[in-house]
């Protein structure tokens, strides 16, 4: 059966629906090829152009390969592979000979639509994929044997019903499928998405660029009351090395363990679970000071938590921190490292540091005097600081006096080191917003922050946030309360529209729960689920066999139900079934019954085409009519119909 050109419009729409979320990341050559192929197909559908000949199709395939090579340099790997499948789906539109060609496109569509999960596992993408799957299934219905003529709404309803019917099976697979740490199969290198959020370097401007992003960095669920805003310092990395412009990591060797001490007896540990959005980096964020965490991560002497692989999908972990304990690890080597400054620069600053250190009694007093200096002098907190010259510190401390947190933390650490106090920069996030509709905290990219830590001989590493000296509101009321330039703030965050805020929090709450229950349903949660049901120590092979058993049972139930339905089927349904079987036999012989054609009208055509079938076809038509439209019919009719249809040969 040839596929009429005009029937391809829904297929073309289908391919575009599948590709829609990819548009933004497909390279221009591929988009261009896509546009040309789409236009061409539209012309064919409109009857303005013919299907290209075989040689032209080969040329087109070559063009696609060239476009792929020009864009990616290869046709292997995840991104080029997906783009190639997409292109070939378009090309397939040009050689629609039989139904199986359409089916091929539809099945490739099912695969392609699933690849969106490589890039995002958000509930929105999942909902979109769900809708597209329903649409693709409706295409299957269009090109199925008997249902082709139903209208769009009926098809979509039918398809939605079929997809919904598959949900129990999906749930069984979801709950029981053995979870594997990390991705199911290793992805090629290009699968790693771009990095976002706070980086492992800090130079003027690097954090202030993040402020305008309302994207979520991570979400946190506290066990018990969340700490006060002033204690919400989410430590990411410690930057110890300064080259005069940029702060970089200089981690201590991994085999050295941090030494902690609790300074206050009333130190209540804070337990919390973090759901980190993928940032493409190899570290996690923790409140200071980290006491314990679950899972096999390495914790450095600086209390940084490092992972072995880049975080490329939503990642959840649980931690305990004690806000009152201090990190007391400082070797001679580390002391030296945390005092190092580039030589022969910023002489005015060094002089200032020495003068103020002389005036102060001890290191702690000196730190206070620096903070006081930032507070009393005409320093301002701004998102658009002026550029700094070669002697960046001198420039900042004595001339421009306007900067963002990276300027202040940098200047503070510099002044500390210049006076012989070990100090380092810490980057991470500060603050967070509680979702009023749900029980968790949202930390956004706009909460990105940099502060300092100084070593005090009797206390250990102490946090010092020079930004709080310049703009106390930044710490107490968050980034939105800091009185910064409103134009640079993310619109959605800055807006006071209550309705918009409500919507935003609802959406975020949905996202959070999705991450928690669906994306974050890992091996541990799976185990916990079974433990809560009283089943302990379940291993992967047990799970797998349960899954097989559950699926077999479900299949059995469905089979039993279908069987019972068949038993219950009235004679009328039997008649329809066998008559459609008869029609299909004729269809294979080249004669298709139109939906609006009555059995008698069809019989006339059958006799025209196949005069020798007249008697058999009339018998079947009569029996069918009696059973379908007649008042009564008995087993005799049924037997005659079933037998006649079974024996019927159209050729």
């Amino acid at each position: 059966m040839a596929i009429a050109d005009h029937k391809l419009t829904p297929v073309l729409i289908g391919i575009h629906l599948v590709a829609l979320p990819m548009y933004s990341r497909l390279p221009p050559y591929i988009l261009l090829t896509m546009a040309v192929l789409t236009l061409w197909s539209l012309l064919i559908i409109a009857g303005r152009a013919r299907q290209p000949k075989a040689w032209l199709r080969i040329v087109l395939a070559g063009v696609v390969i060239v476009a792929l090579l020009a864009s990616y340099g290869t046709v292997f790997g995840q991104e080029p592979g997906i783009a190639m499948l997409l292109m070939l789906s378009f090309l397939k539109l040009f050689e629609m000979k039989a139904r199986r060609d359409v089916l091929l496109i539809i099945f490739v569509g099912y695969f392609l639509v699933a690849t969106h999960f490589f890039h995002s596992q958000s509930p929105w993408i999942a909902a979109y994929v769900f809708v597209v799957v329903i649409y693709l299934t409706s295409l299957l219905i269009v090109f199925s044997d008997r249902l082709g003529s139903t209208d769009f709404k009926t098809r979509m309803t039918m398809s939605a019903r079929m997809v919904l019917q598959a949900i129990p099976l999906m749930l069984v697979l979801f709950v029981l499928f053995p979870r594997i740490q990390g991705p199911l199969w290793s992805l090629p290198d290009d699968a790693k998405s771009a990095t976002t959020g706070v980086g492992d370097e800090m130079s003027p401007g690097s954090i202030n660029d993040l402020i305008s992003s309302s994207a979520v960095a991570f979400r946190v669920q506290f066990k018990g009351e969340p700490p006060a805003p002033k204690d919400l310092y989410w430590r990411g990395l410690v930057l110890s090395h300064y080259d005069g412009k940029t702060w970089r990591r200089d981690d201590a060797p991994e085999d050295l363990q941090p030494e902690l001490s609790a300074v206050s007896a009333a130190a209540q540990p804070v337990e919390y679970a973090v759901m980190l959005e993928p940032h493409g980096r190899k570290w996690l964020y923790s409140l200071e000071s980290l006491v314990s965490l679950e899972g096999g991560y390495s914790v450095t002497r600086e209390l940084q938590v490092l992972t072995k692989k880049e975080i490329i999908s939503v990642f959840s972990y649980a931690m305990t921190s004690s806000l009152r304990s201090r990190n007391r690890s400082l070797s001679a080597q580390e002391r030296e490292k945390n005092l190092l400054l580039p030589q022969d620069f910023n002489e005015k600053s060094v002089t200032l540091a020495r003068r103020l250190r002389m005036a102060a009694g001890d290191d702690a007093e000196y730190a206070d005097s620096i903070l006081n200096y930032f507070n009393t002098e005409t320093f301002s907190y701004t998102l658009s600081p002026p550029l700094l010259g070669d002697n960046a510190m001198d420039d900042f401390i004595f001339n421009t006096r306007a900067g963002f947190c990276e300027h202040y933390s940098s200047a503070f650490v510099y002044l500390m080191r210049a006076a012989g106090v070990p100090a380092r920069v810490v980057v991470g996030y500060q603050g967070g917003t509680l979702n009023p509709l749900d029980d968790y905290m949202i930390v956004r990219q706009s909460d990105a922050h940099a502060w300092a830590e100084i070593w005090l001989a009797d206390k250990g590493w102490m946090r010092a946030d020079p930004t709080s000296a310049v703009s106390p509101d930044r710490i107490d009321f968050g980034i939105l309360g800091a009185g910064l330039e409103a134009g640079r703030m993310p619109f959605m965050l800055a807006s006071n529209n209550k309705w918009l805020l409500q919507l935003r929090y609802t959406a975020d709450s949905l996202n959070h729960n999705w991450n928690k229950w669906v994306v974050g349903f890992n091996e541990k949660k799976q185990q916990a689920l079974f433990e809560s049901l009283g089943i302990e120590d379940i291993n992967k092979s047990t799970l797998f066999s349960w899954m097989v058993v559950a699926m077999t049972l479900m299949g059995g139930v469905v089979a039993w139900w279908v069987f019972r339905q068949g038993e219950r089927k009235s004679k009328r349904d039997v008649a329809s079934y066998y008559y459609s079987l008869f029609c299909r036999k004729l269809e294979r012989a080249g004669l298709m019954k139109q939906p609006s054609e009555s059995p008698d009208e069809f019989l006339v055509r059958i006799v025209q085409h196949f005069p020798h079938l007249k008697d058999k076809a009339s018998l079947i038509t009569r029996q069918y009519q009696q059973m379908r439209y007649g008042g009564e019919a008995d087993d005799g009719h049924k037997k005659r119909l079933v037998l006649a249809v079974k024996q019927f040969r159209a050729r």
Binding site: Q594, S596, P599, D600, E601, Y629, G630, G631
Partner: protein
């Protein structure tokens, strides 16, 4: 068919009805040459207790057909020639003062008959037209506050000349709906035309036709038709047709519920005519054009360009369950 075993009495009657109707059709076909399908449709309409509108140019045999049917059916026949000065009372009758008895006496109009031929119905004023149409619908006449039942069976054939003529009042859609069917006769084919030219005077032939039925028998036949079985699937089909006409942009407005009933009853009568004790999709399709076309107004000229009528468009668009 097998159904006969369960309901022998009903089926015998039905078979007898079919027999009578085919005889009637044959008799009529002796006078009206080459118009077998129109004859069958007219009989279907009669059996379905509906009224018939024949729309055609003058001289194609509209009146002759009506005469012949009346004769064969053995019904008392009245012909009303509609003119622009015809008054409602000319049709319904009037109360006339009787001087001798000093009372008003009702003189029945020509409408009090089993079979009415309303010739050139579009030449009368709307007021007169509606007098007839109301009588058709109600099967009773109310004059001077007194209601009088019309005889049963009651069957009206109205003829209308479709050509635009001065001083005519074409029936509006709302009135057309009251006719179960509208048919055209058309010119006879060459063979029939030749026979017509060679043969005897049609009027004489009508006089010599033997009636096949009478009023009582016709009522029985009509009752049989109403009993014909209609499967759920075909009720679904009729509903789908109604729905389709209401949704389709091809029509200004859809079929009324009365249109649906008309389709159903006509299909039943057709099944009886064909000797089938249940309705088949064919029966609905064969009466579709006559029942549906005058009830729908086609929007735009898209259908015309495709050389389709409303009925053929519906028949090929609505799937048969």
């Amino acid at each position: 068919m097998n159904a006969s075993s369960s309901n022998p009495a009903g089926s015998t009657l039905a078979r007898a009805s079919t027999q009578l109707l085919s005889q009637a059709a044959e008799s009529i076909a002796q006078v009206i040459l080459g118009k077998d399908e129109q004859i069958r449709l007219a009989l279907t309409c009669l059996v379905a207790q509906g009224h018939l509108l024949i729309e055609d140019t003058p001289g194609v045999g509209k009146t002759t057909l009506a005469h012949t049917i009346a004769q064969v059916m053995g019904l008392d026949f009245q012909r009303i020639q509609f003119t622009s000065d015809l008054l409602p009372s000319d049709i319904l009758g009037a109360a006339i003062y009787n001087r001798e008895q000093s009372t008003f006496e009702f003189h029945k109009g020509p409408v009090f008959a089993n079979f009415i031929l309303a010739d050139e119905v579009n030449r009368a004023t709307p007021k007169t037209q509606s007098a007839l149409l109301e009588a058709m619908e109600e099967r009773q006449v109310t004059v001077e506050g007194e209601t009088r039942k019309l005889p049963r069976p009651f069957f009206v054939i109205a003829t209308q000349n479709p050509l635009h003529q001065l001083g005519t009042y074409p029936l509006p859609e709302s009135q057309l709906d009251r006719f179960l069917m509208r048919i055209q006769l058309g010119y006879p084919d060459k063979k029939a035309e030749r026979e017509l030219l060679q043969g005897a005077d049609r009027r004489d032939m009508i006089k010599h036709l033997q009636p096949v039925l009478n009023a009582g028998k016709l009522l029985t036949v009509q009752k049989q038709a109403a009993k014909i079985h209609v499967a759920e699937a075909l009720l679904d089909y009729i509903q789908a047709v109604l729905e389709f006409t209401r949704q389709s942009p091809m029509f200004e407005f859809g079929l009324s519920p009365r249109g649906g009933l008309a389709l159903l009853n006509a299909a039943r009568a057709r099944a009886l005519l064909e000797g089938q004790d249940y309705v088949l999709p064919e029966h609905i399709k064969t009466v579709m054009a006559a029942v549906v076309n005058h009830r729908l107004e086609v929007a735009g000229d898209e259908l015309g360009r495709q050389e389709k009528t409303a009925a053929s468009y519906i028949a090929e668009s609505v799937p048969i369950p």
